[in-house]
Symmetry: C2
Subunit: 501 residues, 2 copies
């Protein structure tokens, strides 16, 4: 059937076209079916029919940016269209809905279709929900990881690469920015790609961005790592796991993530940068992502098995995630903690945890014998070698290497939250304190966030300051103060957890 092109200047993220209902009946197709579109010899194979309305008349086809570009179409062009079959992936997705095992080549086909935008939101969601309910076994998870790696860019640094990862969920937990300079100062190669915050007040990439640039092309990245042995950059600026990004988009609205998908997502990004040794931080505790040691153990075992299958020597550390790490929560405040720690003045919990992680990496990679990691990590940090290395990294990434912690600009508006009673600090809830920091404007407002004045176990007087909220916006500061009073992220005094009537 020949139809006339009607253009819409809209990016849909999918190869969607719009046909008139009458033409659809003629073609024998329905919403969600595929057509092949040809302009002369050039064909676009799997456009999804997504709407059938009064938008286009009979004999017309509504075309959006993606298809327009790929066929170089102009308004009024005549194109041939033809019904075509659905991608094979859909049969494989249905297998997963029926609880069947997917073979490696089936998973590869699905991931390729995901990367090429051949699947609609409906089809992609069905996969994700099927995997969430019926699970991926280890063979499937390995295949998924490999497919994600192969459909993205891969970087070869020409050296053994060490890496770390944290499953997240703990406010202020900015250990990466201490571990990387310690490890690099020990002479190992650590090209760290990190994420930006999605639902937290700061990701490592957001925090590093306070000190230096974090978006680089692959060549620039290799150059930085060749020169200084490490980097701390935003993983999203390189195309390491495009499949993963597209899967996350359908997971987010339901906040569910199939375990196999999480494992594959983490490990694919490690494999793509050629990691050989990997330490994974799994915080456990009330307010963290996991609150159960058995679950944490089970997850750790799976990370280790998957690592082995991918030739990445992997060690997991289950850590105390029951309260925030460090004083600052928010990009600038966390960057200040890190720079103070490199200067020998940092929060003890952040310093100790970072040394533990660095020690594990030094031992795992064979740099030192088992039991000697902590001593070397401490020596590197205390001697200032880690600080010097961080200055090199900051400079290599275009930042000011001479920045001192006190130079880091915080929000110019602030408010102190005080204790209503005299007593010991019983708990600081990561989720709640993070929400207050986000309300204050973090992570977009780098200077916004929370500066904790107390830690769990400290004694505080009535009227004593618990934390300071920073923001660049008067409105957002007010929102954050309101939320702080409602959510009460810090509990002082009594032991009552709940009152029932």
């Amino acid at each position: 059937m020949d139809v006339t092109v009607r253009l819409y200047e809209i990016e849909t993220g999918k190869p969607i076209v719009v046909l008139n209902e009458e033409d659809m009946k003629d073609l024998g197709v329905h919403i969600g079916d595929r057509i092949r579109i040809c302009k002369g010899e050039k064909c676009y194979v799997t456009a999804i029919i997504d709407a059938t309305t009064s938008m286009v008349n009979e004999g017309e086809i509504g075309i959006f940016e993606e298809v327009k570009k790929s066929l170089d179409l102009n308004a009024g062009d005549v194109v041939g269209i033809q019904a075509t079959s659905r991608p094979k992936s859909i049969e494989f997705i249905k297998k997963k809905l029926h609880g069947q095992h997917l073979h490696g080549h089936e998973i590869t086909t699905i991931v390729e279709d995901i990367v090429e935008n051949n699947l609609s939101d409906i089809e992609l969601t069905a996969l994700m929900v099927g995997a969430y309910i019926n699970g991926y076994d280890m063979d499937e998870t390995v295949a998924l990881t490999q497919a994600i790696v192969e459909t993205g860019d891969q970087i070869d640094f020409g050296e053994e690469v060490v890496d770390k990862h944290c499953i997240g969920g703990v406010a202020g937990n900015r250990t990466t920015m201490l571990v990387v300079p310690i490890i690099a100062a020990a002479g190992l190669t650590m090209p760290k790609t990190s994420s930006r915050a999605i639902t937290s007040p700061a990701g490592t990439a957001d925090t590093m961005e306070v000190l230096a640039k974090v978006e680089f092309k692959i060549d620039e990245l290799k150059d930085i790592v060749n020169r200084v042995g490490a980097c701390i950059v935003w993983g999203g600026s390189v195309n390491l796991a495009p499949a993963d990004d597209k899967i996350i988009r359908v997971e987010y609205p339901l906040s569910i993530d199939p375990e196999g998908q999480v494992l594959a997502s983490v490990m694919a990004k490690k494999k793509s940068v050629g990691s050989d040794y990997l330490v994974i931080d799994i915080p456990v505790g009330h307010g963290a992502k996991l609150d159960d040691m058995n679950e944490a153990n089970s997850l750790a075992r799976k990370f280790i098995e998957l690592g082995n299958r991918l030739d990445i020597k992997t060690k997991c550390l289950v850590t105390d995630g029951s309260s925030p790490i460090g004083r600052g929560i928010g990009p600038a405040l966390e960057a200040r903690d890190v720079m103070m720690a490199l200067d020998g003045r940092g929060p003890l919990d952040l310093v100790n945890k970072s040394i533990d992680l660095a020690a594990a990496l030094l031992e795992l990679s064979g740099k030192v014998r088992k039991g000697n990691g902590r001593a070397l990590a401490e020596e590197i940090l205390n001697s200032g070698k880690a600080r010097d290395k961080m200055m090199e990294i900051i400079e290599a990434q275009g930042g000011d290497p001479k920045i001192s912690p006190e130079d880091i600009p915080l929000g110019d508006k602030k408010y102190e939250i005080t204790s209503g009673v005299t007593g010991r600090v019983r708990s600081i809830d990561s989720k709640r304190i993070s929400k207050v920091a986000r309300a204050a404007g973090a992570p977009k407002d780098h200077g916004a966030g929370i500066d904790l004045q107390v830690g769990v176990g400290d004694t505080v007087d009535k009227g004593g300051v618990l934390y300071t909220i920073y923001s660049s916006s008067e409105n957002k500061l007010e929102d954050a103060i309101k939320l702080a009073h409602e959510a009460q992220p810090i509990r002082v005094g009594g032991v009552i957890l709940e009152e029932l009537v």
Copy 2:
């Protein structure tokens, strides 16, 4: 945050808006999150953020038809936007993903959100896949049916209403158009709403449309039924089960339908027209939807239980679905079968099956005692009372009551498919013969389709005609002929089912 409206003349079917990424960071929202949009006092509550691109600049909001209309927006208007929470339905959908039972009020909330377009494709698909894998129990199915009924229009005909339904899958099976006039001629009220073909070559609504109009408003429908005691109309023209239509849209691309959803979908449409007595035809056999007597039995039990819970007295007939019913396949050819049957000249299988169904309804409704239904149905058909009633129905629906079977126009291009061997007809595959009819242009091309010249068990000579393909298009006729030779829907002769090497 205040933003300036940028309008796009596109219907999205969902309350979607587009924001710039920077503004999204400022608001702390992501793709799939909800915002409230206010123009002065008037607010639109749950717009879904669906894209973040170069389409709109910072400080702008991209608005499509649905939101534009509901807030009466013009390009350049300034509106206030504010992040807002997700609909409660999403928590309930997640319960279903976790295999938990949904309470009645939770299902009601979900169905209301579906009808009000408050759920994205991702969220709706998650519900459907969750229900497909984890199932709905009978309590959930009852709640789902009631919620679908309550969110749609309901019609009260002021009389006891009898109804029939077929789960479909058998080519040519146009019994409704014989059952309705028989039942109405017996003095019962039978306001039949039927579907159009989705993947078959003809639905009852498509076939009836050959003879009369099938799209009516509720008042017109009531008027027709008051006058002649029956109607045969397209259910889609009245708003009986809008939730169902929206659910089907996400089921179609994966061709999966959760059983509870199917049960609810069927029974809601019956309840909405006030059905008191219902006979359901469940064809079983190779090529039909079900090929297993146990499955058919189990489905029948559930229909009956659901019927009882809804105060609809329900009887199921499991029927032979191993080959097509009647001669014609396609709207005009099926309408011809029906009109010939009313005239005493119809295909015997179609006539017999229709009498069985009508008899069951006459007995179920108490019109006659058990065992006497068939005699009354035959008498009504053979005496011409059913034909007269059909003429009344056709006239009431704006058709020509004097139409004779021979007047029904068929496609002006035809081709005879002949047998390659002499032998008995062993099988006629409904799925395959339906595909040939669709390739010829049915259902949109009303005159297109198949005229079977043989039935299962007939003896045919080499070169003898098996069936005639009709079409109004030379191209489509050629496509259908090609498919007919490939698919071989009719098997003649030998008993070999499969050859293995």
